[in-house]
Amino acid sequence: MKAELLKGHLDSLVLAALAVEPAHGYGIIARLRDRSRDVFRLAEGTVYPTLHRLERDGLVKSRWTAASGRRRRVYRITRSGREALAVRRLEWKQFSRAVEAVLA
């Protein structure tokens, strides 16, 4: 899938990936790839500006942990993040239904 198509929905996708359980950046990318059956492939680094922005907006929180002798930043979704995700899911359903109706 074209990266440009994905960019507009990256916030929602990252929130959805974190709604399952907390994860670090690489874990989120892997989760997106798995759940999309390898359709969502994007430059992996681009997930970090999104994560930082979601954190500034209070939709996710993060903290440093240690893993294999390395520092690792683990993100988890906040209550506001879950509320925002619920709204975005609803919007997406309406939008995709409308697009489907037109394209079909």
Partner: protein, 277 residues
């Protein structure tokens, strides 16, 4: 040169330094150790992606900080002025050094108004950009110019206040002069803090292309895109207010002085503040 070195250099190039840069590099190092650098993305593009968003957020925030600081300083200025002229204003010719006194008196009238206008324009633009993740560099530059102009004229107002009190000390009591001098300096502190915040925001550079726009893009109401027409309409409205507020002697003089100030400021600062293109 490793990928992380390249990313570090690119982050520095776009103005991301210190803790922010350290965090990005630490997260990238962890990611690359697990998945390799090949899929991580072009370091230049990634650094720019961070910068576009950080610059937008920082410039917008510095505009809000500046407006709050100027609001605080403005309230202090108003109280200080009332206390200074408790027993009446000084005779304009009674300054210890008349040229300085005249400049201070002029600045006391002109600078707060310009600061308020620039601050308001800055706030309007920041509000318009509130939902934008990455605003065009030209828009952010205009927002920063408005913020910095508001801060500069705000600071000039406070300096003028202190200078006026000292230069016309013969007309005021000692406590009034001392209070104005110290108060003026104290009130510049929040303005200086806001100026530092604005300077930091400018260090991160957005690379998003696009036009800066002008005041017509910021106003909540649609007006004909004729800047000078709007300027003359505003001047007329203010002249009427000044005519009505003062008596028959001072009203016309004040209205003419205010009109000259508004039109002159529009001519000199119009492009800088995005009032006209």
């Amino acid at each position: 040169m490793t990928y992380l070195d390249q990313l570090g250099d690119e982050l520095a190039r776009v103005g991301i330094r210190g803790r922010q840069r350290g965090r990005i590099l630490a997260e990238a190092a962890d990611h690359i150790a697990e998945g390799g650098a090949a899929e991580f993305g072009d370091p230049r593009e990634l650094a720019q992606l961070f910068a576009d968003e950080l610059a937008t957020q920082a410039t917008r925030r510095s505009a809000y900080v500046a407006f709050a600081a100027l609001g605080l300083a403005g309230a202090g200025f108003a109280v200080g002025w009332r206390l200074l002229i408790l027993n009446g204003t000084a005779d304009i010719t009674s300054a210890a050094f008349l040229p300085l006194g005249l400049v201070a008196a002029f600045c006391l009238i002109a600078c707060p108004q310009i600061s308020f206008a620039a601050g308001l324009l800055s706030l309007l633009r920041a509000h318009r950009l509130r939902k934008q993740r990455a605003a065009p560099a030209a828009e952010l530059a205009l927002l920063a110019r408005r913020t910095n102009t508001a801060l500069a004229f705000g600071a000039a107002s406070l300096v003028a206040f202190s200078v006026y009190a000292v230069d016309y000390h013969a007309a005021f009591s000692r406590w009034q002069v001392l209070g104005a001098g110290v108060g003026g300096i104290l009130l510049t502190l929040p303005v200086a803090a806001a100026a530092i915040s604005s300077r930091r925001a400018l260090s991160v550079r957005s690379g998003v292309p696009g036009d800066a726009g002008d005041m017509f893009d910021d106003l909540p109401v649609r007006l004909p895109r004729r800047p000078w027409l709007v300027c003359f309409a505003l001047t007329g409205a203010l002249a009427v207010v000044f005519l009505g507020a003062a008596g028959a002697d001072e009203g016309p003089r004040n209205a003419i002085a205010e009109s000259v100030l508004v039109i002159g400021s529009f001519a000199v600062l119009g492009r800088r503040l995005g009032l006209r293109k």
